[in-house]
Symmetry: C2
Subunit: 328 residues, 2 copies
């Protein structure tokens, strides 16, 4: 076996921690260091031996790191960091601001083509695995409808909205795909469904002492944009229950293509995820695509890429001959 693929992590929040853990499961990879904007001495890593360095020292690792996994946020970190890092490193990121993907792709592509590096952008599960399924299933079944359902999953934006309601001490919100809607889609009926038809919202709230729970529930349910248009339930729980039952970050969802290959012949293709930890799973997808970025760069496939440009074999630990023999 050749040397291991040497990985760096830029940014050490939930996603960076997930990447650190995921690399331990990949026998062909090693983690060189975590790069942070914080004081490295203040960062406590999951795994004792992980070196933590200042992000300003990253360029010195140009020849010691094969792929940088970029774990910053999409709003401001990634648009600034990815083009900068692509000057020196192959990169993988999870940029997920759908509307800005073409612009982000162009910026990264310009740099990476020039530096002869490979940058796979917008990796994860949506965008990412779900994107692959939308394209794959539509290529196979051109006549049909694709449905994306999200959840059961914790929504940060909606949880924040709950916490702004007067009398709420803590609150979390789960987006839950509507079973009725999923069943209608699975039946081959091809119904027209809005995001609202496809999901309901479940809220868990710890109220302040003496707060009016009925009023809190009404305020939440009537909140425009966030809840008013949805079937919303509000559960009041204790602080202990909140800590015990709602500190994980579960998520998941479904991509369903319902198509017809001829009159009356329904064909259903479904891809789904049920994740105990959204950041750990997203991190695991990034790590598998880091392997692809490394390999594509080795054969001169440089510039910005997306999951659409990556063949399945590039992601696997195994050789093409092993894949044909054992997995096909």
């Amino acid at each position: 076996m050749e040397g291991k693929i040497r990985i760096g992590i830029v940014g050490y929040g939930n996603l960076g921690r997930g990447v650190e853990t995921s690399i331990q499961q990949q026998p062909d990879m090693e983690l060189v260091a975590v790069f942070t904007r914080r004081n490295p001495a203040d960062v406590k890593t999951q795994h004792p031996g992980t070196p933590v360095l200042s992000i300003t020292d990253a360029s010195a690792y140009k020849d010691q790191i094969d792929v940088m996994i970029m774990c910053g946020g999409s709003a401001t970190d990634l648009p600034e960091q990815v083009p900068r890092f692509a000057e020196l490193f192959n990169t993988v990121d999870s940029f997920d601001t759908h509307a800005k993907i073409p612009e982000f792709f162009a910026a990264v592509d310009r740099v990476a083509k020039n530096s002869k590096k490979t940058s796979i952008i917008s990796v994860g599960w949506d965008p990412g695995l779900f994107s692959i399924h939308r394209v794959l299933s539509e290529a196979i079944l051109p006549k049909g409808t694709t449905y994306t359902f999200w959840g059961k999953g914790l929504s940060q934006g909606h949880s924040d909205a709950i916490r702004r309601v007067e009398g709420v001490k803590y609150g979390v919100q789960y987006t839950i795909p509507s079973e009725t809607a999923i069943e209608r889609v699975r039946s081959g009926e091809e119904p027209e469904l809005s995001t609202r038809d496809k999901h309901r919202r479940e809220c868990y709230v710890v109220a302040e002492k003496d707060a009016d729970q009925t009023k809190i529930a009404q305020t939440i349910k009537n909140m425009p944009n966030y809840f008013a248009d949805y079937e919303t339930t509000v559960h009041f729980i204790t602080e202990e229950e909140m800590k015990r039952d709602h500190s994980q970050m579960p998520h998941g969802g479904f991509v369903i293509r319902s198509g017809k290959t001829s009159e009356g012949t329904n064909q259903l293709v479904e891809f789904s995820l049920k994740l105990d930890s959204n950041p750990e799973f997203t991190a695991s997808v990034l790590v598998a695509y880091a392997r692809a970025a490394y390999r594509m760069n080795q054969v001169g496939q440089v510039g910005a890429k997306t999951v659409y440009d990556v063949a399945p074999a590039q992601l696997s630990l195994f050789s093409n001959a092993e894949l044909r023999k054992n997995y096909l």
Copy 2:
């Protein structure tokens, strides 16, 4: 738009008919001709204008056909035909004798590399889409177990076995995935399951007049290899019911990867198909991969390939920029 991708079909059984129908749904493709071993005048196509020619005339179409979709059987047709056709054409086939794939790949690869053609072998849903999911989900979740369930689907071999039982006039057998087993897998438990644990068998039988139904049912249920080890049910129906309810070829199945990204953190990735027509769906997969074979050949990716070598973008009607903007 450039000219359409020109397709030929070799072999005109259920799969060939499915390909003929599927091409009608793809705006960038046209069907040039069906090639058959039978007397072309005896072949009645689904769509009136489809030209039917003798397979012995195929070589004359070397410059008129971009991709030949090989629709013969895996036992004897494909091992003989695909290497022969790869001398003159890009090809796509559904070779599904798992144990012989490496040997078949090598034979096709030798010819196609030499003729500078692209041959994508073993395309369909298993091998094919299911194979992709086994590799993709294991690359992302290296610690875990992958489960493949088949069905609900008509099994030709088991249906034949039923029809050999004395007193049976007609019979069909459906392989049905065990709901209990699927639920155990979905729970994240990672149970050990044999093929037998994962499936049950349902038989529909038209008995000869005056035949002993109890004896027929016992003979079927006790048949070694085929039924004895499985939970098997036998339903007796009329000849009319057989024709009305059991003339379709439904199939489907599930590939489920249950993995852990850290202690106690379960992650579940599931891909499933529910198909009204197995041959029409398999045909639709072949047609999408014909597009990839054509494009890969255009950029010099010659030789034998599998679904593991094909990036999602190669399958789609849309450009990379359109995919990034509208599907990512």
